[in-house]
Symmetry: D2
Subunit: 364 residues, 4 copies
Amino acid sequence: MSGNSIGKLFTVTTFGESHGPALGAIVDGCPPGIELDTADLQKDLDRRKPGTSRYTTQRREADEVKILSGVFEGKTTGTSIGLVIENQDQRSKDYSKIKDRFRPMHADYSYQQKYGTRDYRGGGRSSARETAMRVAAGAIAKKFLAAQGISIRGCLTQLGPIAVENVDWSLVESNPFFCPDADCIPQMEEYMQKLRKDGDSIGAKLMVVASGMPPGLGEPVFDRLDADIAHALMGINAVKGVEIGAGFEAVTARGSEHRDELTPEGFTSNNAGGVLGGISSGQDLVAHLALKPTSSILIPGKTINMEGEPVDVITTGRHDPCVGIRAVPIAEAMVAIVLMDHWLRHRAQNAQVSSATPIIPGSD
Amino acid sequence: MSGNSIGKLFTVTTFGESHGPALGAIVDGCPPGIELDTADLQKDLDRRKPGTSRYTTQRREADEVKILSGVFEGKTTGTSIGLVIENQDQRSKDYSKIKDRFRPMHADYSYQQKYGTRDYRGGGRSSARETAMRVAAGAIAKKFLAAQGISIRGCLTQLGPIAVENVDWSLVESNPFFCPDADCIPQMEEYMQKLRKDGDSIGAKLMVVASGMPPGLGEPVFDRLDADIAHALMGINAVKGVEIGAGFEAVTARGSEHRDELTPEGFTSNNAGGVLGGISSGQDLVAHLALKPTSSILIPGKTINMEGEPVDVITTGRHDPCVGIRAVPIAEAMVAIVLMDHWLRHRAQNAQVSSATPIIPGSD
Amino acid sequence: MSGNSIGKLFTVTTFGESHGPALGAIVDGCPPGIELDTADLQKDLDRRKPGTSRYTTQRREADEVKILSGVFEGKTTGTSIGLVIENQDQRSKDYSKIKDRFRPMHADYSYQQKYGTRDYRGGGRSSARETAMRVAAGAIAKKFLAAQGISIRGCLTQLGPIAVENVDWSLVESNPFFCPDADCIPQMEEYMQKLRKDGDSIGAKLMVVASGMPPGLGEPVFDRLDADIAHALMGINAVKGVEIGAGFEAVTARGSEHRDELTPEGFTSNNAGGVLGGISSGQDLVAHLALKPTSSILIPGKTINMEGEPVDVITTGRHDPCVGIRAVPIAEAMVAIVLMDHWLRHRAQNAQVSSATPIIPGSD
Amino acid sequence: MSGNSIGKLFTVTTFGESHGPALGAIVDGCPPGIELDTADLQKDLDRRKPGTSRYTTQRREADEVKILSGVFEGKTTGTSIGLVIENQDQRSKDYSKIKDRFRPMHADYSYQQKYGTRDYRGGGRSSARETAMRVAAGAIAKKFLAAQGISIRGCLTQLGPIAVENVDWSLVESNPFFCPDADCIPQMEEYMQKLRKDGDSIGAKLMVVASGMPPGLGEPVFDRLDADIAHALMGINAVKGVEIGAGFEAVTARGSEHRDELTPEGFTSNNAGGVLGGISSGQDLVAHLALKPTSSILIPGKTINMEGEPVDVITTGRHDPCVGIRAVPIAEAMVAIVLMDHWLRHRAQNAQVSSATPIIPGSD
């Protein structure tokens, strides 16, 4: 019950279904005096928005956000910020065929089991459309963090079999895949065209990096920074794995090689991904996440209907063949929300967080 | 601030440092009427206890837990359960050498940055010794869940380069590695002896499986079951990666292959790891986690001291060469705590959780 | 920070300023399958609505609520319910005169101190207009509780010097004061007319009663039912005192007279107000609250301006001369929210709450 | 479920029954670097301790607290502080007579209804003995607040019919009633001797005042400072009413008289009790509370037994004839816990809280 909130001091609560009248959020705990405008939110909403390339769902949504409270004369007041986005391009009748059957690998079945009912139109609350409000809220956090010198960037590091080898951040915003490797972009275009023709879907891997991190964010022992990042990222639709720093590569590593040594000039490496003992070290925070292929595909599959009888299913609604692509701004937003929450928690304990002087420099 | 609690309805709060007088926990939200005895807790504490084989730290701790409240005439009363374990084998002077320098890849540095001070004896609060109370609290959750038909098992699936190929649960408790594959056990013995001789450490991979799962556990959209599992597992000392079901293998999977189809007899596969849209499906919950090699090794490394000057460091205290091994009961405990919390949350919404009739059977 | 939420399992989060574009709420944790319609919410909103009699503020607001999510085909889905009410009758220029000075006894001063800024138009977030969303959310709780046999009623028991002597619930909805005593109504009319002529304001006392209470609601030791009721009622604008049962009369009472004895037919009295040791006993829950006179009056007063200089102030905006009157549905709503939250918390522990069989009957 | 915690950033969680082996608490969120010693806690524990005068229960408890974690080299480390007090003078057999019957006006009945069981020895968790840990935790908050210039004092303002007229704080600690009025002390002595002879009990009224308050503490709209104070005080055993400032006197007050005007020299009065719109104004925080007479008295009363049959009951265990007396340090502790929590929450938003410059001075 009541699982639609995240964050302890900077708290984001959301509502809204894929085919309902609107999506919304309440962003609570934003300090006063921050310049805030819908344009600050729209930038990231537009990056997440459907229908911007042939590689995403063709649903057309302007995703125009309205700020209903918490901002006065262009600045935050310290009170709760109400946000709303109206849905515009619902085609609910597309879903009448799947009203009585469960898409395999979809929340259809578990929602029906949990609630004894479900809004089958576009997945209702389980739709990735819900993540628009995360991006809007995350944009507020990004703006706050930027003023503290912290910046958050995300990119696609693998699309199915195509793995990125070089990360050039300057490329990320200029291609429809958020891909940081020039060599991979044409391969991805080709792969996605073939995939769409097949009516199939594919998984992806993303990376999010926060730079300019102060040391000291994270609260032992349960509210560790890495634990909260894992919570926030695993809670994004379709995510099945999360790594911090070296992640699963640590399994085969020896301590003598794996450790990030300290020198007066800084750390010699960043296998830790910027977190030691659950607390930020001042190095870049580095997280990776794995997204499964969407279950909404055109290739018929076996399933059951509401009576438990075997039936076939095809999903003809509009869907992303690779949900990982549009997840880049979502993952950035979730990291921003967690970092802002921990930044405030740390300041509660130590007023000097913003001007903390690390013993050694962070990695950027 | 105040990060030492986990769980919303079943809430575990802990205290205690590696070299302080005692460790303790308050377990809040346990329903009344459950038979509970220290023996129920001691079983798992003994599995985690140091010094039981040559492959773990040689610190000697009985880890005898006392129940100070919440149990009356052999049964829980519904009020908060106070637990305490006294520390016995502190050798704090072992740590005087590292008092003024930071072990690389250790919480030494980040704690000092966060708090401006730290209990350097054995890592203080950042020590894995803290996890004893998690295991004690988790044992209460395990007992509750067992009465609902849910059982939780963990094992080691990889130790450095040695990866398990077959999972035979009957082997797990009879070898010092919690290894489920008979072929791997002698290899692991040999590897660990060599490692200890080298004074080095190694990473590991674990798996935890919950069987007998009811459908419906997990709360969209932020308190998803998989998100809370990720939070709980990433919050264990040394964990750097968490996967649910297929995890990072989903990156290269096509939707048409990856989806778990539904039939009247059950699901045809379990790539989802038992969670759809953040809600349990009734299949086995399957999670994997990666643990880094401990940073406390005998091989000298570069670091800095409290003044930021370059120095060398060797850790001569007693440490586990592979912290992943003893993490098996800890990971089980964390999964149990999350599941009990969500079980109760689900019952708040739907009194019938324990007798829910899935449309199709789960996987066991 | 982030103080705009109430409730643990049934959680209400609100936003909105007096003169902003809209007010809103997210109601999280409502079980699925409950028939819900805007009409269910509108009834109580209309009771709280301004401008319905000459004894309240003359601001005209339809207070029409929209349900933006969480309801599908006429029933709740179990997901978060988004609510919004658009503001219609802002006259912000009324407030330009007090932009640079603090109304005595008003949140103007404390908001300015806390945030370094404030939305001075109508008090912004500190306006009682904010309580409209509490009433809307409370109406959902009332509907849920009614299905469990619990009903909540409130009335005015004192308006300045005029104290109610007899409580006839049938009168409450048919007079503009929510007054349950026929003799008092004409006195109150006369008093209020005189008061309005004087440009002054007056305090009031209210009573809220919940009948059909199951025993067992409330969680020792901090989340007691009475403590949470006190929290919810003291958090209403202008409330300065809260009593449970006999309240301050208990100060002069002897234990031998004050105790509510138990008989097979029920309790012999209800000095406890339905709560023993923080847990409901099954008797009626009875709470009283004191509301101060509003500070927004036409009689000039001394204050300071933003520069700390002495100035006079008169409030010419539209205000209630007795805020206690319209607080009746607000107080009911707050009690309903707390009771629903505790009802769900209790069911988490004991699935049988709704059919609990008390050892002796409650008082109605 | 899980109601044994209070506070969001400064969080106190307690355990322990009247006749169990020990009481304990975990104090989480205390900033590092604060000098802390058991003596700091013992001072207030001794003020609350039973058996210090003939006017309290004759149970003998040393109430010696041990600090088990969170303090290193005499200072807090920022990690969770574990506290424990061993029970010494249990006489559980005193309670065998009431094992099967409910004391009227006691938690016996509601605990039995809620949990289906209860620890009948001395009331188990419902015993006021539980409050020892609140006092210990509150002493930590008091020490922190004192360093910020905030001091908290409490006194008895009415004992049954004897109401205090003058408050002379210098008297409070030198008489067994915490009474601040020299004229009342002999009357109270006489009254209590008579009461004890009668085997009866009596109610009381207390006042708590916090001086040196910074403006800005409290979070609209639900986590208001006054709402959280009401929650904390109403949650003390036997409390039935809470007032802030003028409290119930506000009911008959006119706005023109009641308002606290502002002048460059400060406020002209303090009817608000230091809170405007839920946020501290910088004036003294003033709260009053009413405590009922204890239900454990020697005068026989009517009740029922576990089978619902009518029986008589006499309580022969050791009890306070006026629980209000020893509640003074408890009420101070609860106010301290709430203030420290809000102080930290406010600092999270505004690093300058400790050096905030009010526009006008507070009242001391």
